[in-house]
Each structure stands twice: as C-alpha cells, then as structure tokens.
C-alpha cells in the first residue's frame, strides 16, 4: 500500500466515523465533532509547526488558545461606554506605566555598569507602586459599572472575524515575549516557561474582571453566521426545510453548524496550504536543516535562536487563531473552563498520534483524537453498563463504576498516546 493510499484511507476512516455518528447518534453531535475537530486540527497544526519543524516543546498551548479567545472579546463585543468613562483611560495609562517600568528596568540592566541590581530594583519597586496607584481605583470603578451584566470595558464592536486576526496577534505577542526570554539562554527553557505563562494567562483572564469579566464569563459574542432563531423565522428557510421533509428547528441548528464548518474548512485549508508551502520553501528547508543538525547550521552562520523564535511565534499565533475560532463557535469566553489537560496535553496527543513533522498528520490527529475524546464518554458508559450488568442493583461497586465512567476518557487518551509512541513512534502519517 503506498503512503498516499494509506493516508487517504486514514482520512476516509475518520470521516466515516463522524458520518457513522451522524447516522447512529445525531447529526448535531456529528457536526459538533466536525467543527471542534476542525479547530483541534488547527491547534495541532500550530503545535506541529513548533515541535515538528523545530523541536520546540511548547506546553503552554492553553494560554495561547485562551488569548485567542480574549482577542475575540476585545474586538467584537460592544464597548461599555460607562466603564470607559469610569476608568478606561486610567487603566490604559496604568498598563503603559507597567510596560514602561519593565522596559526601563531592562534598559537599565543592559546599559548600566555599576549598581545595576540596585537601579533595576528601584525602578521596579517605584514603577510597581505607581502602577498600582493608577490601576486599582480604575479597576474598581470599571467593575462597579453594572456588574451583573457588564463590569468590564467591553470590546471595540468590530466584526467578529477580525477578532480571529486579533486573537492570533495577541498569541503571537505573548509568544514573542516568552520566546525572547526562554530561547535566548545557553540552552532553552521553553517548556517550563510556556507551562508558567499559560497558567498566568489563565489567572489574568480569571481575575481581571475589567478585561474579561473573569469567572463571570463573557456571553453573547456576535456571530459570523446567522442565528437559528432568525432562520426559523425566515419563511424561505422554513419552506426549504419542509420541502426536504425536515423539522425547521433541527435543520436551522444543522445549517448554522454547517456554516461554521464551511468557515473553518476555509481557514484550515488555507493554513495547511501555507504550511506546506513554507515547509517546502528555502525557509522550511533551513528550519529542517537547523532541526537535524543545529551545530552545523550554526557553523554555517544561521541564526538558530532567531529562527526558533520565528517558528515559535508563528505556531503560537496559529494556536491563538484556533482559540479565537473556538470562542466564536461557543459564543462565549469562559476563563474557568481552560484546563491544561484539555487544551495543552490533548493537543500534544493529537500531534504525536497524527505524526510529528507532518501537517496532514497533525490534521488527522486533530480529528481522530477529538472524535475519541467526545465518543469515549458514551462508549465508556456503555462498557461500564456491560461490566456492571451482572452486579446486583444498589451494589456500591456498580454505582461507583457507573458514576466514574466519565473519567474513562483521560485514561483512554493516555493509553492511546502510549500505544502510538510504542508501536508507531512516528505517528499515523509519518514525516516524509
């Protein structure tokens, strides 16, 4: 079997699984898997660029994904005028002061010869207190504005699709800062740096209510596609649904999901196309040359650190874009729901299972692992019901097993990762 046939068969298998879900379970579930599968594929693509092309170990995917979500909020939500009047300007001045303090500290560290530790400490301490003096009252004022529904600055009220770009840019900016610090040392400290920054980003989203409403969540994010209720009220739509013998309510929700799927497919294909183009360009060849023999590449005058920084920023931006798309699909930003197992390590499972270094592999991994992530739960419950069937009703073990079936999915993901690492260490679609 040639690789091309095998790969086509693998993709056919995954879409067959999704179709089977549609026929056996429900089309709503199947399309839900498809849409999140598309988003997962994009996340996996981003991580694969970093790990597959350059061997960079990013365990902070969650943070970049969440930043993408924040990008959507600050772009597309309507601005809260009252909050801006209460303290918008002051918050911005405070943030600029904070950034200025850090810049001044870095400058002092680089320029000063003597007493630089003292000078940097002094700058940081003074800057911090000025920042807090500016920041705290402004935040209190903003969060006091209609806290039940607003209590934050809102966004710019721009089209939501623009938010995807902003989300990618936010993630890229964070990646630039992280990369600058963690990739420039004698050896990298990227893993621990990304692990940390991801937790910090989530902490900021959870606690800075003025920015993201924190755990109160931002809901009602504008959509790039029509609302179900509008479709149901559109006589033309209802007519067509009835012509096909479908219930307008079900059909409307399927139509909306299909519209999202269309949008996502366009983004995914564009990204894969770009990624393949980049991989086969001189730039991509150089990236792989660096990856395969860093010392030789360095000896040939390649700036390895700069190349690593580039690919890290690009990969993180892709993760941010995917995060923005996800927040748009959900229609809400829920900072409390970001967990490393789901948003960092699961993406890694996708990349490894799919095939490190291969873009199509990452895409396949994204779909397949997401499908399993969703479907293991009902399957696990089914399995548990089977196992516990002979047990008497009310037996403690039976109740416990049935109750715990939901946790089967973590276990399964671990088993899948280990099996692939052991028996097919280059993934389902290996790098060429």
């Amino acid at each position: 079997m040639t690789p091309a046939i095998k790969n086509t068969a693998l993709f056919a298998l995954v879409f067959g699984l999704i179709l089977a879900t549609g026929f056996l379970q429900s089309w709503n579930v199947a399309l839900g898997i498809l849409n999140m599968g598309l988003i997962s594929a994009i996340m996996a693509l981003g991580v694969n660029m970093q790990w597959g092309y350059a061997g960079l170990f990013n365990v902070g995917v969650m943070g970049f994904v969440a930043l993408g979500g924040l990008g959507v909020v600050i772009t597309s939500m309507a601005p809260v005028g009252e909050a801006w009047a209460a303290g918008g300007l002051r918050v911005i001045v405070a943030l600029l002061t904070g950034a200025g303090t850090i810049a001044a500290a870095i400058l002092a560290w680089k320029r000063l010869k003597r007493h630089r530790g003292l000078a940097v400490t002094a700058i940081l301490v003074v800057g911090f207190f000025v920042y807090r003096w500016l920041f705290d009252p402004a935040v209190a004022a903003i969060e006091a504005v209609n806290p039940a529904r607003e209590g934050y600055l809102g966004g710019l009220g721009l089209p939501v699709l623009l938010g995807w770009v902003v989300g990618g840019l936010l993630a890229a900016g964070a990646a630039w800062i992280v990369g600058k610090v963690a990739l420039g040392l004698r050896s990298d400290y990227l893993a621990i740096a990304t692990l940390g920054i991801a937790e910090i980003i989530i902490a900021v989203l959870k606690n800075e209510d003025w920015l993201s409403r924190g755990v109160k969540n931002v809901i009602g994010i504008p959509r790039p596609v029509p609302y179900e209720i509008d479709l149901q009220n559109d006589p033309g739509f209802v007519e067509r649904a009835q012509a096909w013998g479908l219930d307008p309510v079900t059909f409307s929700s399927i139509a909306v999901k299909l519209a999202y799927a269309g949008l996502f497919v366009v983004v995914l294909l564009a990204l894969v196309w770009l990624a393949e183009l980049a991989l086969n360009s001189p730039w991509g060849r150089m990236m792989r040359a660096i990856r395969d023999n860093e010392i030789a590449a360095e000896a040939m005058g390649k700036d390895v650190t700069l190349r690593h920084l580039q690919i890290f920023i690009i990969g993180s931006a892709v993760c941010g874009l995917a995060g923005a798309m996800m927040t748009t699909l959900d229609g809400q930003l829920t900072p409390g729901s970001y967990q490393p197992l789901r948003f960092t390590f699961l993406i890694w499972v996708m990349v490894i299972v799919g095939g490190s270094g291969n873009n199509w592999g990452a895409v396949l991994g994204g779909f397949l692992v997401w499908f399993l992530w969703v479907e293991v739960e009902p399957l696990g419950r089914l399995l548990m019901e089977l196992v516990t069937a002979p047990m008497p009703e009310g037996f403690w073990l039976k109740d416990h097993l049935l109750e715990s079936a939901a946790h089967m999915r973590l276990l399964t993901m671990g088993v899948i990762l280990l099996l692939v690492l052991r028996f097919s260490p280059r993934g389902l679609i290996p790098e060429r």
Binding site: W51, G55, F57, D188, Y189, A191, I192, S356
Partner: protein, 274 residues
C-alpha cells in the same frame, strides 16, 4: 532520519525537560553466559573480531591478545579502529563474528558489567572519573562489585598514587588532568582486576606526567596484572610494551614484541615517523 525513531529529538535543546548530555552511550545488550573452552591459548584474546557500531564494519578479522602480567599496546594511525578493538574486547559493541576468550572461558556473550565481574577493568579515554564524587568515593565505586574489605586495595592505590591520598576528600572534578588520570586508573584497579584495559591514558597530559604514568603502569604490570592499552604516543608505548599490535583500517598490520616493532624499519617509517 535514523533507524531508531525513539532516538530522534528533533534538535530539542530544552534543558528544563531533559538531559541528553549525561545519558549513557554504551548500548544495552542482552547478555549471555560465559562458556568454558578447550586449549590454553593466551590469557585474554579477541580472536578474528569483525564488527562495528551498527553501520559498516570497523574491525575486520582483528586479533588482539595479552598474556598474564604482560603489557600489550595497540598502535596505529587515526581511525584504524584501535579504540573500537578495545571496546569490542570489553563487550561494548556487538561482534558479527569472532570471539573473546579470557582465562579458558569464552566470554563473547557477556555484557560489559559481567566482564567486570570476571576480572576485567576498563579506563575510557574521556569521562573516566565521577567528577562530582570525591576521590575516595571514586575508588569505592571502582570496588562496587566487591563484598570483601577494600581498605587494603585502597591503600595500595594510594601507595601507587600518593597525591590521591592527600586529595581523597576532594571532588575528583577539581583535580588537574594528570591527577584525574590517576583517579581513573586507581578506580579501575579497585576491582583487583586480572586485566587492565586503558584507552589512551596519556591523551592530553604533559610529557613529564606521561613518563610518570607509564612508570606506574609498569609497576602495576609487575604485580601480575595484564595490561592492554591503546596509545597515540606509539614510540614511548612500544618501549615499555611486551607486545605490540599495529592496526590499519581495522586489520592487523604488524604484530610482534614491542622491541621488534621498534626495530622494524617498515613500522618505523610508516608509523613512528622515521
């Protein structure tokens, strides 16, 4: 892409998650038993050894031996497979053909650890001491397999290398190059080996230290321990050698006593610089 997909790290340099520099390089082997063999033969012999590190063969029908209490030296140009021959005798690579015999036993199947237990000791060319352990702990680790009292052997090593006694509480990594070599040899002697194998013991030390080290090696041989070593400084090494092996491209080119090789005009012209 290598044959081993698990040994690919995609150039990852992240030291917050892994430490490839300190990983061992000796390949894990499935060991087997030592088998008694007939006919006396030399005390230790690597017979018609052919093999390499997985890729192309480096050794071709190469034979090296040493008798009890003798000093045997392997010399030859760079890339002749001198170190590889030593490693083959110590079981650090898989032979495609040929065998290794020690004192009437066929030990070809033994792992390096098992050869230590059979009275062989090896001093690698580099990374041959435990830098973060004290000198004394280095010696103790050399005697790891011994269950009896090691204090007498340790005294003997200190007599051989008095400077080590002075520095015995110091981390070995803080010593000078020559002293480190003494620690390395001392560690190997702690097992009370029958054969001591040295891979370029004088690499990177000054001529005075080199002479000193050779004197000590002769002293060790006088106690009945066989010595097999690889040397860059061929002339000096052959002078103290009972037997010399000249290797060229993994094959035996000349084999004779040290003095005879020094006297051989062909060997002098080609390998000893006139």
């Amino acid at each position: 892409m290598s044959d081993n997909p698990w040994a690919e790290d995609r150039g990852n340099m992240d030291r917050s998650i892994g430490d490839p520099e300190h990983q061992g390089t000796i390949p894990a082997r499935q060991g087997g038993p030592a088998v008694p063999v007939e006919n006396g033969g030399p005390f230790l012999i690597g017979e018609k050894m052919t093999g390499g590190y997985g890729g192309a063969d480096i050794l071709h029908d190469c034979t090296i031996w040493v008798e009890k209490g003798e000093i045997a030296v392997i010399v030859g140009p760079n890339g002749a497979g001198k170190s590889t021959a030593m490693k083959a005798i110590f079981g650090m690579l898989d032979l495609r053909s040929g065998r290794v015999k020690l004192d009437g036993l066929d030990i070809t199947a033994l792992t390096p650890q098992d050869r230590v237990a059979h009275g062989m000791a090896f001093v690698p060319q580099t990374n041959n001491i435990f830098t973060s352990l004290t000198v004394e702990e280095n010696l103790e680790m050399g005697a790891f397999l011994r269950r009896d009292d090691i204090s007498r052997t340790m005294e003997q090593v200190y007599e051989l290398f008095p400077i080590l006694k002075e520095k015995r509480r110091q981390p070995a990594g803080e010593l000078s190059g020559g002293q480190r070599q003494q620690v390395a040899v001392g560690r190997a002697l702690m097992t009370e080996p029958q054969v001591l194998m040295l891979d370029e013991p004088t690499a990177g030390v000054s001529p005075i230290v080199m002479d000193e080290l050779f004197d000590r090696i002769i002293e060790v041989a006088r106690t009945g321990i066989s010595i097999l070593m690889v040397e860059q400084n061929a002339r000096q090494a052959l002078e103290i050698a009972d037997r010399g092996f000249v290797l060229v491209q993994g094959r035996n080119a000349y084999t004779d006593t040290g003095q005879a090789l020094l006297a051989n005009p062909e060997v002098r012209r080609t390998f000893l610089g006139g």
